[in-house]
């Protein structure tokens, strides 16, 4: 177990390092100078040089990347002008554009994506597994086919189209909800849920499809297993067999996929955030990419990569815990 985790950690560190390096290099090659934006209107050449020096963009790429890495691992003392401040590891430096500590920027936005992801995940698991069970109770019937068709249709809908349609229906035509505007859970739980309802729904409806299929396939597979056949022979009701026993066969796979999806979503949902005006990591990422805000771009890439690796590890552990045949 511990060896497995250590191996994973080493592998993850290597992947993240390459990821950061590739991102850094790519954005460094972009036409455009972050110092010009930071310096403002009417900036003279010497002034621009001073700003480049202050940002550290006057150094070579390897030097910049190295200092980014060492800052991340060891922390760094930054000058604020009259004094200096210590930025402790993991320190991602300061944003070129807003001058904020990047670590803090990411931490400020993470709750939005955690709220978004957890609510959506709960909803898609409920909808996905529910629809799967609903359809598999009568396999091959019209009900099965319609459920599958609807789920497939929703699953292939672009999330921004679905979001737009939800907004039009709920906020403009029926006027049952106001335009979403993020309210932290700690501030007002009811408002938090009300404002996130549409985003949750948009993501959940699009994501549920995979879970419906997995549930359906898993249960069908289970129904052919010996112990389920035995239960059937004893005359247990079909509904009970499916929801209590057969579903267990599908659980390890469902848990694995859910862990991976959650990991990917936690690092930002650009389209959902954009459509519903949520101040999450995805929007920050696009903004930062547009202004070549390298510390922010790399910070988000690393965070996203780390979350994906974490989710992968969690998925493997979950799989092992739920499926006795798998050992790590």
């Amino acid at each position: 177990m511990i060896r497995f985790l250590l191996r994973r950690l080493a592998g993850a560190a290597a992947v993240l390092l390459v990821l950061a390096a590739v991102t850094y290099l790519l954005f460094y090659l972009l036409p455009g100078d972050p110092a010009v934006l930071a310096c403002g209107k009417g900036c003279t050449a010497p002034q621009l040089d001073a700003v480049r020096h202050a940002l550290g963009t006057d150094r070579s790429v390897p030097e910049q990347f190295w200092s980014f890495l060492s800052t991340l691992v060891l922390g760094h003392r930054f000058s604020t002008g009259p004094t200096t401040v210590w930025c402790s590891a993991p320190c991602l430096g300061y944003s070129y554009q807003s001058n904020e500590p990047v670590t803090q920027m990411l931490l400020d936005r993470l709750p939005v994506d955690v709220s978004l992801t957890l609510g959506a995940a709960a909803l898609w698991l409920l909808l996905g597994i529910g629809a799967g069970l609903f359809s598999v109770l009568r396999p091959g019937t019209l009900r099965d086919r319609i459920t599958n068709a609807v789920v497939l249709a929703l699953g292939s809908t672009p999330v921004f189209v679905l979001a737009l349609l939800l907004l039009m229906v709920a906020c403009v035509w029926l006027k049952v909800l106001p335009f979403p505007s993020y309210v932290p859970l700690t501030e007002d739980p009811a408002q938090w849920a009300q404002n996130l309802l549409l985003p949750w729904l948009a993501i959940a409806l699009v994501s549920a499809a995979g879970y419906t299929r997995l549930t359906r396939a898993g249960v069908l597979e289970a129904l052919s297993l010996d112990h389920i056949r035995t239960l059937r022979a004893y005359g247990f009701p079909e509904r009970r067999i499916v929801t209590r026993h057969a579903i267990r066969v599908a659980l390890p796979t469902l848990a694995t996929v859910a862990a991976l999806d959650i990991g990917a979503l936690l690092s930002g949902a650009v389209f959902t955030e954009t459509m519903f005006g949520l101040p999450g990591l995805g929007k920050l990422a696009v903004e930062a990419a547009g202004t070549i805000d390298l510390p922010v771009v790399c910070g988000i890439t690393l965070l996203a990569g780390a979350l994906v690796v974490l989710a992968n590890t969690a998925a493997d552990l979950l799989h092992a815990a739920l499926d006795p045949r798998v050992r790590i």
């Binding site: 992947v15 990821l19 090659l29 036409p31 737009l164 459509m275």
Partner: protein, 317 residues
Amino acid sequence: MTLTSTELGAAASPGRRPAGGAATTGWARLRARPAGRVALLTVGLLVLVALAAPLLSAVEGQDPNTFHDDLLDSATGGSPLGRFGGISADHWLGVEPTTGRDLFARLVYGARVSLGVAAGATAGQLLIGLLVGLAAGLGGRWADAVLSRVTDLALALPGLFFSIALLAVVPQSFPRPLLLGLILAGLGWAPTARIVRAEALVLREREYVAAAQLTGASTWRIARREILPGLVAPVATYTALALPGNMVAEAGLSFLGLGVKPPTPSWGQMLSGATTWFQVDPAYVLIPALTLLVCVLAFTGLGEALRVALDPKGARR
């Protein structure tokens, strides 16, 4: 922030993997299923619309890029005059707010970009995926180790970031639709490579391949003659489902303002312009939204039908 399937709603889940299969019987089975027929028909129609875009807009008598300022009310934000976004005998689907450009013409021309980029990207993914997957599967231990790590890295790349960066790095003079196709292909080949590698590893152990090796056939010849035919079914299935995913990805990038250059219309670009207008001019929003939806559904349905048709156990459903 990655272009993950969850985020974009791309139906790219691999599904059940059929082991080998004959394309011809699959085709027959596909046409035999009503859902498959409907999907096939819709896709055929869309391709036809895209090909005949100049003809269709000529029939309507409009051009996708001509402004009609006389059809707008400048005092109310440049919204179209008349009901339902200015729908009339001259403008079948109305006109675009603030420009007065004909929406029908833009829609049919938009099909060219949306379908073309998606098809090109899918073809690119297929090509790279096949080459990398075959090389990894048949090329020996070292090739496998290196290529598998490269594939892992490609899977972990933050797709949206890289698209944004690459779209900005490449000069504007480079044709944008081609660039979009290349970027989507370059960022999305990894799943195909994985599938191909896995299948190749299985097929390599088959007797007829071993027999071919004994006769002294080269690796390339074995790949071409013995392995590739066995890959048709799983790869075709995955590809059919990847195509709508690429279509959504293109629309997504255009939606964020990173797609084709104006004034070239694309569905994502139309949607992106329309989002602010949904309270005032719903037609402007619904037309591209529903078109994109129908198109993605048709391709997904086709992919799904193909998956079932190529599944040797397909009779089960």
